[in-house]
């Protein structure tokens, strides 16, 4: 603010409501949670514990086994999304953006429908679909002669997590599809025409011209997937409950946080350990976002037009 000007109060008035609500409900609780993680409660007395909670979480066998299990499951959950959801999304977007494609609006609308449904609906719908009692999945496999492949996927330790990850992929494939579709539409026509003049069409046009140009958007969907996955909770909770069964095979950081914070069965809830887990998640997400901002985005910028 230049000294000769009067104080421009209207700027403050315009900013105040948003900044106040955002600070009070989001930023302060976020830091308060980080702070809570540094304390512990022993027989009703809260005392400063430094990094003890984290030592317990990472190293004490009673806690660390659950934590590393949740982290490993969460990582696999993310890997499945990156390997299945994003390539399918990019592929669908590439098809949708092909010129003179009829009914593109219909496909776009239809494929996005699962994304708008709540986790509760998605979780229950797939539980029913995969249920051996109802028999939709075994019946469909029977039609193509593969009935022997059927297993109660959600109930088996070795399949449950991958199955849930694929259900989540089914739900969210619309997001990378839309973002990449939008990016493909913004490629200037001259670039495509120049490529066609040089005889680059079809698949090679996609790989050589379009893909490099949409890399920034692929970076964005990767980081969105990362943040979304390491913050996931609802689908697992709806499909498998807070215990993330069978035998914690589908436990991810979100469900682990919920159980720790609120307690389950005979174990009491512990806000300080819960805050420690939230802090660990915060750290993981922060590292991911920093890698994206400093390593990936700066390097991709030169492709942008």
């Amino acid at each position: 603010m230049a000294r000769r000007n009067p104080i421009r109060w209207h700027i403050a008035v315009f900013l105040a409501p948003a900044v106040l609500v955002y600070t009070a409900i989001m930023i302060i609780p976020l830091f308060a949670t980080l702070d809570l993680a540094l304390y512990t409660r022993v027989e009703r007395v809260v005392r400063f514990a430094g990094l003890d909670n984290f030592r317990t979480l990472f190293l004490d066998p009673r806690w660390s086994a659950s934590f590393w299990n949740a982290l490993a499951n969460n990582t696999w959950f993310f890997v499945v999304h990156m390997l299945v959801q994003n390539p399918i999304g990019v592929g669908l977007a590439a098809l949708l953006s092909s010129p003179r494609l009829r009914m593109a609006a219909f496909y776009r609308t239809a494929i996005f429908i699962p994304t708008i449904l709540s986790f509760v609906i998605v979780g229950f719908v797939w539980k029913l679909m995969l249920s051996p009692i109802w028999g939709i999945a075994p019946g469909m496999l029977d039609l193509v002669g593969l009935k022997s492949l059927f297993a109660p996927w959600l109930g088996r330790e070795e399949y449950a997590l991958t199955t849930l990850a694929l259900i989540s992929v089914w739900q969210f494939v619309g997001i990378p599809m839309m973002l990449i579709y939008a990016a493909l539409l913004t490629i200037p026509d001259e670039v495509i025409e120049a490529a066609e003049m040089d005889g680059i069409t079809g698949m090679s046009q996609f790989w050589k011209i379009k893909l490099p140009l949409i890399l920034p958007s692929i970076g964005i969907i990767s980081i969105l997937t990362f943040v979304g996955n390491f913050n996931a909770f609802d689908l697992i909770y709806v499909a498998q409950g807070a215990l993330a069964g069978p035998n914690y095979a589908t436990d991810i950081l979100g469900t682990f946080l919920y159980r720790t914070f609120f307690g389950f069965q005979l174990q009491l809830g512990d806000p300080h350990m819960g805050a420690a887990i939230a802090t660990a998640m915060f750290g993981i997400i922060l590292v991911g976002v920093c890698i994206y901002l400093f390593a990936i985005q700066t390097r991709l910028r030169r492709y942008q037009f």
């Binding site: 421009r8 948003a18 609780p29 098809l95 429908i113 708008i116 709540s118 939709i136």
Partner: protein, 278 residues
């Protein structure tokens, strides 16, 4: 394959897209169509459409008699509409301040507000609950409205600021010469011009709020304040063995979101192509 004949390629493209559309819609179709069938028909021929012999509304009857669906629906509406109102109003005001005026700390304030796009508000849950307990807001809809307003603001400010930069300066300066106050310029000139962007932000903000399970479960699990998402989760859980009721409850839960989506899908797609990718 068939690189030179576009007709084959277009058939192949349609085949893939139709295939994926079927995958996307099939589960929804199965649930909705079976919700209109009798229990026997659900198990005997799950893939058949309901016909004269298998048609049965027993599931809907059970749900509407036992569940408090209408009440949950009302709670969800109140929470979603109020949060949406505050996100749009506060978000547009902050976006206007950031995009219109040059002041010290402008960039810093923009970055501060953008932080929330990447860091999920859920990580602060432990402290948010303590805050709500301390202020006596647990099990009130106001707690949810506050949380969702804070959650929606960062993206709203970010997108709306992009759009407000495109509003012509001449128009605003003409308004200033005519003696309009800054508030009048914002409410009477700028706000009507960014209405399409507001609709986009509304759709983006609305879907996660309507579908959220985490905060209703933690901040407002009481019977009086249950949202439809939490309500159907609890409700469906009670009826795991009553297949008619489960399928009917699911169909009822799908319906409102689907209708809203079909009304707003144009806005949503226009918004993604215009603002969110930059």
């Amino acid at each position: 394959m068939a690189t030179r004949t576009p007709i084959y390629r277009s058939i192949a493209a349609h085949a893939v897209l139709i295939g994926y559309t079927l995958i996307a819609l099939f589960p929804v179709f199965v649930v909705v169509s079976n919700s209109f069938k009798s229990r026997r028909a659900i198990f005997a021929e799950p893939l058949a459409l309901p016909d004269a012999t298998s048609f049965d509304l027993i599931g809907y009857a059970t749900v509407l008699k036992q569940g408090d669906f209408f009440h949950y629906f009302q709670n969800s509406m109140v929470v979603t509409v109020s949060s949406l109102f505050f996100v749009l109003l506060f978000g547009a005001m902050a976006a206007f301040a950031l995009s219109e005026y040059r002041f010290r700390g402008n960039t810093l304030m923009g970055l501060y507000l953008a932080l929330g796009i990447m860091i999920p508000i859920r990580l602060g849950t432990v402290a948010i609950l303590q805050l709500m307990v301390a202020t006596g807001l647990v099990n009130t809809l106001l707690a949810l409205i506050l949380v969702y307003t804070a959650q929606g603001l960062p993206l709203a400010v970010f997108i709306l600021a992009e759009f407000m930069k495109q509003v012509s300066d001449d128009l605003k300066n003409a308004g200033r010469i005519d003696g309009l106050s800054e508030y009048r310029i914002f409410f009477a000139l700028v706000l009507p011009l960014v209405r399409p962007a507001m609709a986009t932000v509304a759709v983006f903000t609305m879907i996660p709020i309507w579908n959220d399970l985490w905060f209703p479960l933690i901040l407002a699990p009481a019977e009086a304040t249950k949202t439809i998402t939490l309500g159907s989760q609890v409700f469906i859980g009670q009826f795991v063995t009553n297949w008619n009721a489960v399928l009917a409850a699911l169909s009822l839960a799908i319906l409102p979101v689907l209708v809203l989506y079909l009304i707003f899908s144009r806005q949503l797609i226009r918004g993604i192509t215009a603002g969110a990718v930059k």
